[in-house]
Structures are given as structure tokens and as C-alpha cells.
């Protein structure tokens, strides 16, 4: 058995989510069909939508199921951008902090290359926090040229939680639609629709559903262009035959996680703090990244001097411990973290990071094992680096 400490990548499927998925597979109809088989499928789907909406402070009709986080983010950003620009072609600016997830960064890059978007970057500080003054300045500068603003709710790598209320208030004041990527935060801290938020992305595999399902919350009042065109399902915002089984799985997962969130977050933060304290005590040249006063409870992001992420990942895997670094390229190479670069770290420092993330299956024994092997792994990784 491995010690699984990469819950922020994908957390194990919860038993309730597996059961809900399998039960839904027993129903044969297409939820859009008129007949009673279709109605049974539809009921599963809409039950799921209700449960999900109850965790996101929105109404069921505002829950748009997608294939996952990346689709939600793309639909949210591209859909809002197009809708805004079609009303007024001067609206081409997109306000965004640095250090966002690649689902956002690459969608923006595409809009910049193909649809005349102008990206207005807002800097992060060394703790990964958004410069709120710069955010407000960007929103008040030539507001008629702004199409949309987007931000993470909490950074998926270093765990820093953003002040979404303040970000949203600034957007509301400027009358700019605001997309929030809450994928890393959902299930760990309270997130949901609030005034000023025009679209909100979450994903199932981070909360213990089967993967391949996500949600974009789109309030009734928001105009958004569809990216996929077809049968007009889900308010025409996201056409395509709906999948009751993954929706049921997602609802079961968040339905279990949400009521337990406060206690579970406290438990995970306790385990995380224990790991952090013992690792810092046992191993020199390690420091913690992110905003220690305001970060996701299950996230421990470490910078390890004179060691490379790739070597640390290999050695930890060899020792039976699954964690992650920043991001990996398509071929699977651990890359320098763009988040750490945005926080002002050097490329070398950004390539010496480990993200340890806890979740619903994490136990004290997992932490003990991590802490036990850690000093030796770091020492070996440093030997490798010193020879390179």
C-alpha cells in the first residue's frame, strides 16, 4: 500500500460516490427523453443538481454539469468573454492574477491569439496573495474596455486563499462579470455563489466523485455564450446528452463532504501542521510556501533547497509515498512551478518544490510514514543534485 498524499490532484472515490454511480447505471433512459425511463434518469440527474446547488449557495437551475474542471473554466471564461464582446466590441481586456491554473492561463492565451483579448495581469505577492489595490486599479482603469475578470478561489499549488469577497465587490462596482475557479477550494472551505460572482467552476474528482464531471455555476441573471452547440440542454449553455451517473456520483461525494467540512478541515489542518512541524524540525533547508495564515487546510507546499522536484518525486514514490510537484508537461516531466515564479522565486527554487495534499482517507499513520522517510529522501535528492 502506498501512502497517498496527492489529494489535490485527485482524491480517492468515496464509497457513497461509487454506490451512487453504480446505482445510476442501472437506469437506462436519456434524461431528455419523454418516456418514463427518461424521466427516471432525469430524476437522478435533478436530484444530483439539487444536492450540488445546496453546497454552492445557488439554485439548481444555476448548476451546469460539465465534463470537469477544465471545461468549466473554459466555458466560464470564454463564454463570458464572447458574450460581453458581442455586446460591445471594445471589451477585450481580461483582468487576471498571475499564478492561475493552466486551464485559465491556456484559455486566456488562446483568446489573446485568436479573439483579440488583451490580458491585464495582476501581480501576486511572495505569499501568493493577490494585490487587491492593483486588482481594483485594473478594474477602474478604462472599464468600458474590460470583458471579464477571473481568479482562483484558492491557489491549487501553494494553497493561498484569496479574498474572493473583495475581488467580487470590485468587479460588481465596475460592473464587470467575474469568473471564479473554486476547484481547489471546494469541499475544504466554504465556497459558493455570492454577489459579484458571475460564474463559478468546481470539479468532482477533488471531492471524491468519479472523475469526468464538473460544474459551472451560472446565475440566472448572467448572459454567457455557449462553447458547445447542440441539443440545447442545460439552458443551452452546455449542450450534450447529460450523464446522470457522474452527476449522482458528484452529488453523493459533495453531499457527504459538505456537512463534515468544518470538522474534517480542522482534522486535516491538524495533521498537516503536524507534518509541517516535524519535517521542518528534522530537515534543514526546507521552508513552507503560501500564506501560512490563510491557506487551504489540506495543503502543505514545501520548498526544499538544493534538491529537484523530479528527484524528490521519484524517491518518495520509491518509498511508497505519492505526492506532486508543480505541474507536469504533456510528456510527464516535472516543470518549474509557474505559481512560484509568479511569487518571485527563481527558476531553480521553482523547480525544488513539493506539494503534499491531504484528504478524506489521510490518517496519522500516513503522516508518520511521510515524516519518517523524508530526511533520507531529501538527503539523497541533494546528493543527486550535487552530482549533476
Amino acid at each position: 500500500m502506498t501512502v497517498y498524499l496527492d489529494h489535490a490532484a485527485s482524491t480517492p472515490v468515496r464509497a457513497v460516490a461509487r454506490q451512487a454511480y453504480l446505482a445510476a447505471l442501472e437506469v437506462s433512459g436519456n434524461p431528455s427523453s419523454i418516456h418514463r425511463d427518461g424521466q427516471r434518469a432525469r430524476a437522478i440527474l435533478e436530484d444530483a443538481r439539487e444536492i450540488v446547488s445546496s453546497t454552492l449557495n445557488c439554485d439548481p437551475i444555476e448548476v451546469i454539469f460539465t465534463s470537469g474542471g477544465t471545461e468549466s473554466v473554459n466555458l466560464g471564461i470564454i463564454g463570458l468573454y464572447r458574450a460581453r464582446r458581442s455586446v460591445d466590441p471594445r471589451r477585450t481586456r481580461i483582468i487576471v492574477p498571475e499564478g492561475e491554473h493552466h486551464a485559465t492561463l491556456d484559455a486566456l492565451e488562446w483568446l489573446e491569439a485568436h479573439e483579440s483579448a488583451v490580458i491585464d495581469w495582476v501581480l501576486l505577492d511572495t505569499l501568493g496573495r493577490i494585490d487587491l489595490t492593483a486588482w481594483r486599479d485594473a478594474l477602474t482603469r478604462e472599464p468600458e474596455t474590460i470583458a471579464v475578470a477571473t481568479s482562483l478561489w484558492a491557489n491549487n499549488e501553494v494553497g493561498t486563499i484569496h479574498d474572493v469577497d473583495a475581488l467580487a465587490a470590485a468587479c460588481a462596482a465596475a460592473e464587470v462579470p467575474f469568473h471564479v475557479d473554486a476547484i481547489a477550494a471546494w469541499g475544504h472551505i466554504p465556497v459558493g455563489l455570492s454577489p459579484g460572482i458571475s460564474a463559478l467552476s468546481v470539479a468532482g474528482h477533488k471531492v471524491g466523485s468519479v472523475p469526468g464531471v464538473g460544474v459551472l455555476v451560472v446565475p440566472r441573471s448572467v448572459t454567457i455564450d455557449a462553447v458547445l452547440h447542440g441539443g440545447g440542454q442545460q439552458r443551452g449553455i452546455r449542450s450534450g446528452t447529460q450523464n446522470p451517473a457522474v452527476a449522482a456520483s458528484l452529488a453523493a461525494a459533495i453531499g457527504e463532504a459538505h456537512p463534515q467540512q468544518d470538522g474534517e478541515s480542522e482534522r486535516l489542518a491538524g495533521l498537516r501542521d503536524d507534518a509541517q512541524r516535524r519535517i521542518l524540525a528534522s530537515t534543514d533547508g526546507v521552508r513552507v510556501s503560501g500564506d501560512l495564515d490563510n491557506r487551504l487546510p489540506h495543503n502543505l507546499h514545501l520548498h526544499i533547497e538544493d534538491a529537484s522536484s523530479a528527484d524528490l518525486l521519484y524517491l518518495l514514490d520509491e518509498a511508497g509515498i505519492s505526492v506532486s510537484a508543480g505541474s507536469a508537461c504533456q510528456a510527464g516531466v516535472a516543470r518549474a512551478s509557474h505559481v512560484l515564479l509568479a511569487m518571485g522565486r527563481s527558476p531553480e527554487q521553482a523547480s525544488s518544490a513539493l506539494r503534499i495534499s491531504l484528504g478524506h482517507t489521510t490518517t496519522q499513520a500516513d503522516i508518520d510514514e511521510l515524516v519518517r522517510v523524508f530526511p533520507e529522501v531529501v538527503s539523497r535528492a541533494r546528493t543527486v543534485s550535487s552530482r549533476a
Binding site: 523530479a310 514514490d317 510528456a331 546528493t383 543527486v384
Partner: protein, 395 residues
């Protein structure tokens, strides 16, 4: 043993890894990311640096039930292989990037890292064999199937590296056997086309690739006397022995075809002349290494075979070290030798060592009439006194 299997995504390295697993070793598969901007899909028969290749390697590792990682050597590869390749061409030499990769990446950077991580050996799909010699030391030998033998590109291995090099394909009769074995094992790469030529030039157009990276400065084409007889668009477009594409307006006085004899970027000239001027009677280089034990007295001339290209025939020769320079005099004139090429020295099937050719001495028409001449078969009659009889053609 703990074995790190370098897996390119090709059939050879996949079968090599499979055999290492069969032999009972604890094997981990690694794909080297060598390209900074990898293509997504293979194009044509080439490949080594694409996402598809890394996926192929991963599928092979999955089938073998071994862990698999992608390690990034793209920075080292760029500085040590690609930039070196460009610089060598810029200097008028013809490098072998595969040897450079073996010398500096696979059996240096990768092997160092593997050993530091606690592995005992690096396993590759090269066709060559490591055996224990009479003196108990390890030796590198040609693979049993000479047609597939790749010992030439491994000539850069040293006595320190041989104990950690594992080539499970050493005794394979043919590539067809490897493919059949891959098929039997259910490896999806069984029928994948061979990669060849230079992995970082995916379309195989070396000239075109170089012309995008090296300034094209027009200059002169001269004959052996130095007389200008044509012009060129940039020296890197030429290799020693090239006959076509010279576009010489003036025919040779004797009407015979002319070949590129030397490329001199410093002077921005290309020297052309008759075919016999390409016949080389001596090659030498100061950048050399021994593959395993060195001869007891390398200063004393010894009989050997010399091979100057991966697929060239070995040529009987005598070799010796003189004033820090490895000197080889072939019994049969070598044709079209370019500086920068690697000469690998064999004794029987054993790889004795290698050097980068930095100096060549032509035979043609310059043989001292008293001590030697080239017979109609191209044999040099006197090999031991050639030095005084040959003049240097390429510096």
C-alpha cells in the same frame, strides 16, 4: 540488481527492458525528455522526442509492470549535443550527435543520476555486448549480429562506465527477432518504424536545419592550388566527399569530377579537387578515450581495425599514441574523412577506444616515391614510414 532502463519508446529499448525484467532485475523505466519543444506525434519514420514516443515507452513499461518516469535532460541535451552539433558544423567539422549523446547524456548525466539514486546499472536497447576479458576487466564488444552492431556509437564508454552498462540485446541475431519477440510479449511498439538519423532534426533535412541556425555567408570555392573556381552560399552546406550541388561553372582542366576536399569556415572557403585527394592515409586526434583497459604501451604501434562511421566497414590499421595524439594509419586509404567524425578502434570484436578526428593526411599523389605508393587496390605499400611521405590536407 537495480536496473534503470532507458526507454525511448522504440522496440529495441522496450525489449531490452523486458529482458532485464526476465533476468530477475528490479527494473525502473525512464524516458529521457530531450527536446525542449517536443512534437506531439511522430512524423514519418523518425522519432525520439515526441509525446507519442514517451507514451509508447509508458505503455511498454505498463505491460512489463515496472514503474515509469520521464526525466528532463533537455537542458543538458541542448548544451551538450545540439549546441555542440551546431558549433562543430560552424567550425567546419562533421560531428556525430548520437555519440555525443551517449558520451554526455545516457552514460554520463543519466548514469550518474542513476547511480546516485541507488541503481546498479543503466540498460539500453543498443546492440553491443559487455564481456569480461582475459585480464578480468570488462570489455565492450560488437554485438553477435554485425549487421545491427552499434558498438561504434558506444565507443565513448570508459572503464568506469562499463560495469554499469547493460545491453540485453547483445546476442540477438537480428532486428526481426527483436520485433518478433516484442510481438510475442504483446508490446505495441513491435511494428513501430525504426528511428534513425538525428532525432532533433525530425524531417531529416540537416542542411535546412543548420541553415536556419547558422549565418549563411557567401564565399568562394577553390581548387587545391587556391584558385577560385566558384562560389557558395555558406560553408556548412558542404561535407567532405560531396560531389553534387557544387555548381561549378568552370570544368576541371582534366575534365574529371571534383569533390569537396575541405570545408574551411574560418576562411569561408570550400576546397574541391579530384577523387584521389579524398583518400586519407592517416587520421589523428587528441580527444580520445579508452573503452576499458588501455594497452600496456600505447606508444608502441599496434595492429587494429579502424571504423570512422556508424555503418562503415572497419579497415585494418596500425595505431599508436604520439605526444598525446592518437594516430591511426589504415592499410587501405579511408575515403571522405571529415574532421569531427569519431574514429573507433577495434581489436577483433573488442572496442579498444575512440578519438575525434582533428587531423587527416591525404595519400593522393603525395606519397614519397621512395618509401610508398598506393597500389591499384588502394593499399599503401609501406605503412610505417608514411608520416614523411604524406602532407597535411586539413587542419
Amino acid at each position: 540488481m537495480r536496473v534503470l532502463a532507458a526507454m525511448s519508446g522504440g522496440v529495441d529499448s522496450a525489449v531490452a527492458a523486458a529482458r532485464a525484467v526476465d533476468a530477475g532485475h528490479d527494473v525502473v523505466g525512464v524516458h529521457l525528455a530531450l527536446s525542449r519543444m517536443p512534437g506531439t506525434l511522430r512524423t514519418g519514420a523518425r522519432g525520439c522526442c515526441t509525446i507519442e514516443d514517451s507514451m509508447d515507452a509508458q505503455r511498454a513499461a505498463n505491460l512489463l509492470g515496472i514503474p515509469y518516469y520521464v526525466w528532463d535532460f533537455s537542458e543538458r541535451f541542448k548544451s551538450d549535443v545540439v549546441d555542440d552539433f551546431i558549433a562543430e558544423y560552424e567550425a567546419g567539422r562533421t560531428p556525430n550527435p548520437c555519440m555525443r549523446c551517449n558520451e554526455r547524456i545516457k552514460f554520463a548525466a543519466l548514469m550518474d543520476k542513476a547511480l546516485a539514486l541507488g541503481f546498479d546499472a543503466v540498460c539500453t536497447g543498443h546492440y553491443a555486448s559487455v564481456v569480461t576479458g582475459a585480464d578480468g576487466a570488462l570489455e565492450l564488444h560488437r554485438a553477435s549480429a554485425w549487421a545491427k552492431d552499434q558498438s561504434y556509437v558506444l565507443g565513448v564508454l570508459t572503464a568506469e562506465q562499463l560495469p554499469h552498462a547493460m545491453f540485453p540485446l547483445a546476442e540477438t541475431p537480428s532486428k526481426a527477432d527483436v520485433r518478433a519477440e516484442a510481438e510475442r510479449r504483446g508490446l505495441s511498439v513491435a511494428n513501430k518504424p525504426d528511428s534513425h538519423d538525428i532525432c532533433f532534426i525530425p524531417d531529416g533535412d540537416t542542411r535546412g536545419w543548420l541553415s536556419e541556425r547558422l549565418p549563411e555567408v557567401p564565399g568562394s570555392i577553390v581548387d587545391e592550388s587556391g584558385a577560385v573556381i566558384g562560389s557558395h552560399d555558406g560553408t556548412h552546406g558542404f561535407t567532405i566527399g560531396q560531389r553534387k550541388g557544387l555548381h561549378l561553372g568552370v570544368p576541371a582542366s582534366d575534365g574529371r569530377p571534383r569533390f569537396v576536399l575541405a570545408v574551411k569556415p574560418a576562411e569561408n572557403t570550400v576546397v574541391v579537387g579530384p577523387r584521389e585527394s579524398l583518400d586519407i592515409g592517416e587520421i589523428a586526434g587528441t580527444k580520445f578515450s579508452w573503452c576499458g583497459s588501455a594497452p600496456a604501451n600505447p606508444g608502441e604501434a599496434f595492429a587494429c581495425d579502424v571504423q570512422i562511421r556508424a555503418h562503415a566497414e572497419p579497415v585494418p590499421a596500425v595505431a599508436f599514441l604520439a605526444e598525446g595524439e592518437f594516430v591511426v594509419r589504415p592499410e587501405v586509404a579511408l575515403n571522405s574523412v571529415a574532421t569531427g567524425q569519431t574514429a573507433v578502434i577495434y581489436v577483433g570484436t573488442r572496442v579498444l577506444g575512440q578519438f575525434t578526428i582533428s587531423r587527416t593526411v591525404a595519400v593522393a599523389g603525395r606519397v614519397d616515391p621512395v618509401v610508398g605508393r598506393v597500389d591499384p587496390q588502394g593499399h599503401i605499400e609501406t605503412t610505417t614510414t608514411l608520416t614523411s611521405s604524406l602532407s597535411e590536407s586539413v587542419g
